[in-house]
């Protein structure tokens, strides 16, 4: 590689050096191995998300897909020093090899560092028991990638093992931050809560479980026919409602009794941002585990609030 640094200073040379080192990809400073089990269908999106995640977390990313050929073989493609400080190894398994992917992946794990597995689309029912999942200490699924997200999230919750998380949860981070701030700022006892979201929105289901687990009050879900994702959370207190509404998936309005309405940025985020955030934590997420336990309880309750359809109000 040739780098031209015309008309420069010591700082300029230094910056060019740092840039070169990053683009060449020092095989050393990688912090973990990320195993990505993807479908050919969304390969490009996932590949881009991997590149972005690799920028914040220099890592060895092993992208695992199943090819269509009937002969038993594996094709590999290695991306090194292309915009990312780590490396991306794309493995495509064909034929009989599809059943022995773990034997290849095990040999490619980085020494003595964490292993994270991520299923951007369809994921196994019990990721902890999956041959690839068993290699990892952290397993990230995405219920929204399944054909029936609500059922997928419930399956996740019933089969939870420590180290599991779901991107459904990551999508909630800004909502949770805002709700936590609202509850802390407004000193009133919350009687009940209504979470309104689009039909089939797993995040709404999980947010309801989290709120019930934290606030120990009744949380009802309702579905809205307009808007994207979660559209409203209304917390009913003796003094009136604290409401956060987001109709357009970008800006939310916050209102509470006696306070002026405020506009808050609450943007739905891209896959790239979600996975990058999720990879910041390698340890077990205890709050998520508690919320998933609550979600199972909610599903088992006879008067299950899930599925109640009400007209969402602004």
């Amino acid at each position: 590689m040739i780098i031209n640094v015309p008309d420069t200073t010591a700082t300029g040379v230094h910056m060019a050096l740092v840039k070169a080192r990053h683009s060449v990809g020092v095989a050393s400073s990688m912090v973990f191995t990320l195993l990505v089990v993807a479908d050919l269908r969304n390969y490009d999106d996932v590949f881009n998300a991997c590149k972005d995640a690799g920028r914040e977390h220099p890592s060895r990313i092993i992208l695992i897909t199943n090819g269509l050929s009937a002969s038993s073989r594996m094709d590999a493609e290695i991306h090194l020093g292309e915009e990312v400080p780590g490396e991306i190894i794309s493995l495509r398994f064909h034929g009989e090899m599809v059943n022995h992917r773990d034997s290849v992946v095990l040999a490619l794990l980085l020494p003595d560092s964490p292993v994270v597995a991520w299923w951007p689309g369809k994921s196994p029912d019990k990721p902890g028991d999956d041959p690839i999942g068993a290699l990892a200490t952290r397993r990230i699924t995405d219920a929204m990638g399944a054909s029936n997200p609500l059922r997928a999230l419930e399956t996740r919750a019933r089969n939870y093992s420590p180290g599991d998380t779901d991107l459904t949860w990551t999508r909630l981070t800004p909502w949770r931050a805002l709700l936590a701030a609202a509850v802390e700022q407004y000193p009133a006892t919350i009687a009940d809560v209504t979470v309104t979201s689009a039909a089939n929105n797993a995040s709404g289901m999980l947010l309801a479980a989290w709120l019930e687990d934290r606030l120990k009050c009744t949380v009802v879900r309702s579905e809205s026919t307009t808007g994207l994702g979660i559209t409203q959370v209304r917390m009913n207190t003796s003094k009136g409602d604290i409401t956060i509404s987001r109709e357009d998936g970008r800006m939310a309005t916050f209102s509470a009794p006696g306070l002026p309405r405020r506009v808050v940025a609450l943007r739905r985020r891209e896959l790239n941002a979600l996975i990058t955030e999720e990879l910041r934590r390698i340890d077990v997420d205890d709050i998520f585990a508690a919320s998933m336990r609550c979600l199972v309880q909610r599903c088992e309750r006879p008067a299950d609030p899930v599925g109640i359809v009400a007209k969402a109000s602004g």
């Binding site: 050393s28 912090v31 022995h100 040999a107 020494p111 003595d112 964490p114 934590r281 390698i282 340890d283």
Partner: protein
């Protein structure tokens, strides 16, 4: 017959084949020069005439090639043929160094199969060659990195203060191979992983890691320090609890379907030979008391790797919340011997984000990338050392015997219990008993 004569076989393979097998750029003129001196002498070990021809051939080469009577015999022969070959060489008067010329012998592992047989071998060899003319070749010790272990330890101020029981928690020495026994059933069966690797490579690596500083890198000084530490090392008192052995089963390894050990060609169905061996060694001296050294080696592991990992104690106080440091392990200094020679340092660092999240990161020094010139192949270096008569890298018989003293009680114990070694999946990091052996002491094996 290991040395052959006659005109060099001049149907050499194409130069592309030769250059493909060369580690460094292939140079035709070097090859041609080498070819000038190659002779084949065919014959049987029992055939005295063949040894006489060998002698004549060497004499002819002394004049034609100017070797001046300097000979090194590289005995790549089965252990049971040693005695015969050495006595044949002796009979022809080729073993004694004469004035102005040397006669050396190179022998390969295994140096016996226990202490008694090692002593017999030593008697046979020393009957013919002077002790300073015997080179026990161990290609791991020729690796640049092993020598660099000495440089790392004794050329730096940074590491010596932590190189003791006050800072080091435990040490793991691993030599993993991804292959099975291949076509070496005849050699391997009945020998096993402990004799094949632990007795020589791993105990030598242990000695280099644990020994005191030699007063110089003079062969005698270095040997003295290695012998001292090997004499202080002992096998575990509870051998059942602190050793493990296994045998690989068939299955899928690294994306290939492979046979189990007992299914390999030429292996007895009831063979109890271990292909995985792990042992704990304790060193009873001031520097290492209470620091266990774990040695493991196996065939059919996920990848080929040899390394020495020093695991440090946890910091005595951590001013962080439990959440911050959940993903933090302990510091480690890893000397990677092969294939990716270098040094790795593992320490905790903050994850870049608003959270105070601390996680292990590694810092690597790789020889392959850092030095422009590729390091010479281990054997090249060793053969050069033999020719130069420079023995510091070669273990002497005292070291070999001390190593057997550590291993013999374990081998006897395994032979006495007379059971099949525990099976482990090909392409895995070994059997459950290996994991349990470390768990008993509160440790886990690194993934190398």
């Amino acid at each position: 017959m290991p040395v052959a004569t006659g005109p060099p076989r001049t149907s050499p393979r194409s130069s592309t084949t030769r250059s493909r097998n060369a580690r460094t750029p292939f140079r035709e003129e070097v090859w041609q020069q080498l070819l000038e001196g190659i002779r084949f002498v065919a014959g049987d070990f029992t055939d005295e005439a063949a040894f006489a021809t060998l002698k004549d051939t060497l004499q002819e080469l002394d004049e034609a090639q100017g070797t001046g009577g300097n000979h090194a015999f590289y005995l790549s022969v089965p252990p049971k043929a040693f005695d015969l070959v050495i006595s044949q060489l002796k009979k022809q008067g080729m073993t004694k160094s004469v004035k102005g010329a040397w006669s050396r012998v190179v022998i390969e592992k295994p140096f016996g199969h226990d202490l008694a047989s090692a002593q017999v071998l030593e008697r046979q060899v020393s009957s013919a060659f002077d002790s300073q003319s015997v080179f026990r070749i161990d290609h791991y010790l020729g690796k640049e990195t092993v020598q660099n272990m000495l440089a790392l330890r004794f050329a730096n101020q940074l590491f010596e203060p932590i190189w003791n029981r006050n800072y080091i928690d435990h040490v793991q020495i691993t030599m993993a191979e991804d292959i099975g026994i291949g076509g070496r059933a005849g050699y391997y069966d009945g020998i096993g992983a402990a004799r094949d690797v632990i007795q020589n490579h791993l105990l030598q690596l242990l000695a280099l890691t644990a020994m005191e500083e030699p007063t110089s890198f003079d062969a005698a000084q270095l040997r003295t320090e290695k012998q001292k530490v090997l004499a202080a090392a002992r096998p575990p008192r509870d051998i059942a609890a602190h050793t493990a052995r296994g045998q690989y089963r068939g299955g899928w390894a690294g994306g290939r379907q492979v046979l189990g050990y007992l299914e390999e060609e030429g292996i007895d169905q009831a063979s109890q030979t271990e292909t995985y061996a792990a042992i704990r060694v304790d060193i009873d001296n001031r520097r290492w008391a209470g620091v266990p050294f774990y040695l493991r080696t196996a065939k059919r592991m996920p990848r080929r790797v040899t390394e020495v990992a020093l695991n440090l104690r946890r910091a005595p106080h951590l001013p962080f919340t439990h959440n911050d440091i959940e993903a933090l392990g302990t510091n480690a200094l890893v000397m990677r011997i092969q294939p990716d020679e270098g040094i790795t340092l593992r320490f905790g660092a903050k994850v870049p984000a608003t959270l105070m999240e601390i996680r292990d990161v590694t810092m690597d020094f790789a020889y392959g990338n850092s030095f422009a010139e590729s390091s010479p192949e281990a054997y090249e270096r060793l053969i050069l050392d033999v020719l130069l008569g420079d023995p510091p890298l070669f273990p002497q018989h005292e070291e070999v015997e001390l190593s057997w003293k550590i291993l013999d009680p374990i081998l006897d114990f395994w032979a006495d219990i007379d059971t099949q070694p525990e099976g482990y999946a090909s392409g895995s990091w070994g059997p459950e008993s290996g994991r349990a052996m470390l768990a008993r002491d509160g440790f886990v094996w690194r993934r190398p």
